[in-house]
């Protein structure tokens, strides 16, 4: 069921920025400097989705996973043109749908459907399920009244509901059954592509399994292509063929399901996989591997957006640090930056963080920071450490985008992490293309073969 190589949907450099410039007081901020009037107009941009590129092949399920606020749903709505992207292109069956508008887009919508998370609020409580399922057909002028009723009943049976319930209202159904009504409605216009936005998150596990099984059966029967969005990595592993991981508006990794789960190459993916509670008391869990909070998408970190929390932030090339020295310095910098230590006594701090304070330039920086701390100048110390260590790292200076050789399967493995700068092939972070213009996200076996060839030179 892993689909053919022909992409049904191609997303290129998709970007969505929201501005808080709307509304009566939108974009106004209090100015602390005693200006009259004491406000300034400084609209901020929320960079919800930034330069996302991928393909979805006909007949496959692409899982999209990420934590809340990472932009998964915004991305989905952008793909369907429910909100217009700020930048980037979406090709559906080879046609650029971002350039479409009005009637031509409306016609195209028949081929792309969406299923929402909340089965309660996505069904009109005053409509009978029959009407609900027929409505999209009516909107697209499919069949006559009778034909629609016949089809609606057929579809209800297909999704595992009793066709006799055609005349019932949504409230008479349980959560799982309502989600089946949603499925029937989406299927009514015979789409090729369905975006499922957390379709089973609101359901209990036993019901969730029923709905997931039905979705898989329907996919085979109707040759559907799914973009399946979820935050639950277990569900994603079960349903997907390939999986994309998102963090703070960007794709950090995309690979074949088996490859992604068994051979994750981005530190964020690894952290995410390590934090899932495994339903097995004998599995040794590593938990809470990630420290700190997700930064604001208003002012995201430069370069790799994950770098502020990354346990594997790369040492700046300027300093000649051993692995241990860098690890200690990094821990020290983060502790000061996040204020997770209480003491400001240099001796104590040296003892706690360093076996031996690094020598040379890096050591000078650490010592200066310790001097600041002794004078209780926390901010200065933190700023200095971040400027000298974090900001000078390649992770802060360049946006990562690499293609690496997979261990499982033949699909390409995209990882946005500079740890792969030696063996991986550098891609254009905006379009996901190689320097020679070959797109990697869909070129399958050929790509990985030539991958090794390119990385040799």
């Amino acid at each position: 069921m892993s689909g053919t190589d022909e992409p049904l949907l191609r997303v290129e450099g998709l970007t969505k920025h929201f501005s808080n410039d709307e509304g009566l007081f939108g974009g106004f901020k209090r100015n602390p400097d005693g200006m009259v009037p004491p406000v300034v107009h400084e609209p901020e941009l929320v960079r919800a989705v930034e330069d996302v590129s991928f393909d979805i092949r006909k007949g496959e399920t692409l899982g999209l996973v990420g934590e809340s606020g990472c932009g998964k749903s915004t991305l989905a709505r952008n793909i369907l043109q429910l909100i217009k992207p700020t930048d980037g292109t979406v090709y559906f069956k080879g046609e650029d749908i971002t350039a479409m508008g009005g009637e031509s887009l409306r016609k195209k919508r028949r081929e792309m459907q969406l299923i929402f998370q909340d089965p309660q609020s996505s069904l009109d409580p005053r409509m009978k399920v029959g009407q609900i399922v027929e409505e999209p057909m009516e909107a697209h002028g499919m069949l006559d009244d009778e034909g629609r009723e016949v089809r609606a009943k057929e579809l209800l049976a297909k999704v595992g509901l009793d066709p006799q319930h055609y005349n019932r209202y949504p409230h008479a159904f349980s959560g799982g059954q309502r989600q089946r009504v949603n499925l029937a409605r989406a299927l009514s216009v015979n789409p090729d592509f369905i975006v499922c936005d957390e379709p089973v998150s609101a359901l209990d596990v036993s019901i969730q399994a029923q709905v997931l099984n039905t979705m898989k059966e329907l996919q085979e029967e109707f040759d559907l292509t799914y973009l399946f969005i979820a935050h639950d990595l277990s569900v994603i592993r079960h349903i997907s063929d390939r999986v994309a991981v998102m963090y703070l508006g960007q794709l950090v990794e995309l690979a074949d399901k088996e490859e992604l789960y068994e051979n994750p190459q981005h530190p964020y993916t690894r952290a995410l996989l390590d934090s899932i509670p495994v339903p097995d008391p004998r599995s040794s869990g590593v938990r809470g591997v990630l420290e700190g909070d997700v930064p604001s998408p208003i002012d995201p970190p430069s370069g790799c957006r994950f770098r502020t929390r990354c346990p594997e932030l790369i040492a700046p090339e300027e300093y000649d640090l051993s692995a241990t020295e860098w690890e200690e310095t990094r821990a020290f910098m983060r502790a000061i930056d996040r204020r997770t230590v209480e003491t400001n006594d240099p001796e104590e701090l040296r003892r706690r963080f360093f076996g031996q304070v690094p020598s040379g330039e890096a050591g000078t920086v650490v010592e200066t920071a310790l001097d600041h701390l002794e004078r209780e100048e926390w901010e200065e110390a933190a700023d200095l450490l971040v400027a000298e260590f974090a900001e000078k790292s390649i992770c802060a200076r360049e946006v990562p985008a690499y293609e690496i050789t997979p261990e499982y399967g033949s699909d390409t493995h995209y990882a946005a992490c500079h740890l792969h700068r030696d063996e991986g092939i550098r891609l254009d972070p905006k379009t996901g293309e190689r320097a020679d213009g070959v797109r990697t996200a869909d070129s399958g076996t050929e790509a990985s073969e030539s991958a090794s060839a390119v990385s040799d030179d």
Binding site: G176, A209, Y261, I276, V278, P279, R282, E291
Partner: protein, 383 residues
């Protein structure tokens, strides 16, 4: 090794008297919590796990009423009923026993001080118009008879304890300035502030992202070791159960249907419902083929099925299951009696030898699990 349990719940029944009928949300459950132990209360939505947790604290509001049962905590009777010998010919009535704590005593002696509770949604548990610090300080002042300044110092210390950076600065901030995980940390700080012997946690990590959930679980385990607090952990997530619980109670439709330590629950499952629940979960650590969902939907607690409540969806159901209502019984384990603490594995399923009601001879039952897949309507729909 039969020390007294810290909390003992026996035959607890909580019902909701609604227009549609009596909802038997918790229907005669019994379980124990020993000192320093992390006990899971697990089940799907509607199983009655939250109501059970709230009943222990006597936090059930109308139309809900605790109608029967006994809850003892450190020798105190939190809930206790006895039958009166009423007028001849009249049915005996249940009345509160004399030693049952009054509402006043519950508030001043138990809630917050001896038993604390953490809810799922930290935003709803914190007042948005007061600073986090002042709420924490107030709680400490009220419950520990400290002066304002002492309580403040204590509050800052608690914030630090639960891993909130810059606690002095955070003390002055409002709940909306905290992330979800940080808010849950504040609630944990509040729960721990009086060093209670038991904390009831009602789905405290369900609303959190998985990486944050991991941080909170780590924190709870660390604090539990430090303070030796016992926990009742209400959750629907078998993954969380496997990670942190010592013993587990699995609930289905208001009843505890299996009770075991976590190792035995996963590796020597005795109740078909627990088995089905485990089989229906996709796994993060391996690729699963077809999932085996539990057929049908959970019946409504207003009108539970006769006999074993799971019989309508049970793949092992036989005719006898429709007639006999199984109680929770110790299931012999062959090689050992109970775990190292002498706590036994209990299950409410007549297929085990402990129940001698003729299961082996009984006819297999046609139901949603054994017959074809029919999606039944919920209660309202069929009316």
């Amino acid at each position: 090794m039969s020390e007294e349990p810290l909390l003992k719940v026996e035959n607890l029944k909580t019902q909701f008297f609604t227009e549609d009928g009596t909802v038997r949300a918790v229907d005669g459950i019994s379980f124990e919590v020993y000192e320093g132990e992390l006990v899971g209360l697990v089940g799907e939505s509607g199983a009655g796990k939250s109501v059970a947790a709230l009943s222990v604290m006597r936090l059930i509001d109308s139309p809900g009423v605790i109608v029967d049962g006994e809850v003892t905590f450190k020798g105190k009777t939190l809930v206790g009923y006895e039958e009166t010998t009423g007028e001849p010919g009249e049915p005996p009535e249940l009345v509160e026993r004399e030693e049952m704590l009054t509402e006043e005593e519950m508030r001043t002696q138990i809630r917050g001080r001896e038993i604390a509770i953490i809810f799922q949604d930290p935003m709803e548990s914190l007042n948005p118009v007061f600073t986090v610090g002042s709420q924490l300080r107030e709680f400490i002042e009220l419950n520990r008879d400290l002066s304002g300044t002492e309580a403040r110092a204590e509050a800052v210390q608690m914030l630090r304890e639960v891993g909130i950076p810059e606690p002095e600065k955070r003390y002055e901030q409002y709940p909306h300035q905290f992330s979800g995980g940080m808010r849950q940390r504040v609630l944990i700080a509040m729960a721990l502030a009086c060093e209670p012997s038991l904390i009831i946690a009602d789905e405290p990590t369900t609303a959190l992202d998985v990486t944050v959930e991991g941080q909170i679980l780590d924190l709870v385990e660390e604090l539990q070791r430090k303070y030796d607090t016992a926990f009742v952990w209400v959750t629907h997530d078998m993954g969380v159960v496997a990670e942190i619980c010592d013993r587990v109670n699995v609930m289905y439709l208001g009843e505890v249907i299996e009770q075991a330590n976590v190792e035995e629950l996963f590796y020597d499952t005795k109740h078909p419902y627990t088995e089905a629940l485990l089989a229906s979960m996709p796994r993060p650590d391996r690729t699963t083929g077809e999932l085996n969902p539990i057929r049908g939907v959970m019946p409504e607690a207003i009108n539970p099925p006769s006999g074993c409540r799971f019989h309508s969806r049970c793949p092992d159901a036989r005719e006898v299951c429709r007639r006999v209502h199984p109680d929770l019984r110790a299931i012999e384990n062959g090689d050992h009696d109970g775990d190292e603490n002498g706590r036994v594995h209990r299950a409410a399923c007549v297929k085990h030898d402990a129940f001698d009601v003729g299961y082996p001879e009984s006819e297999p039952l046609e139901n949603e699990a054994t017959g074809g897949f029919e999606v039944g309507l919920t209660q309202e729909g069929s009316r």
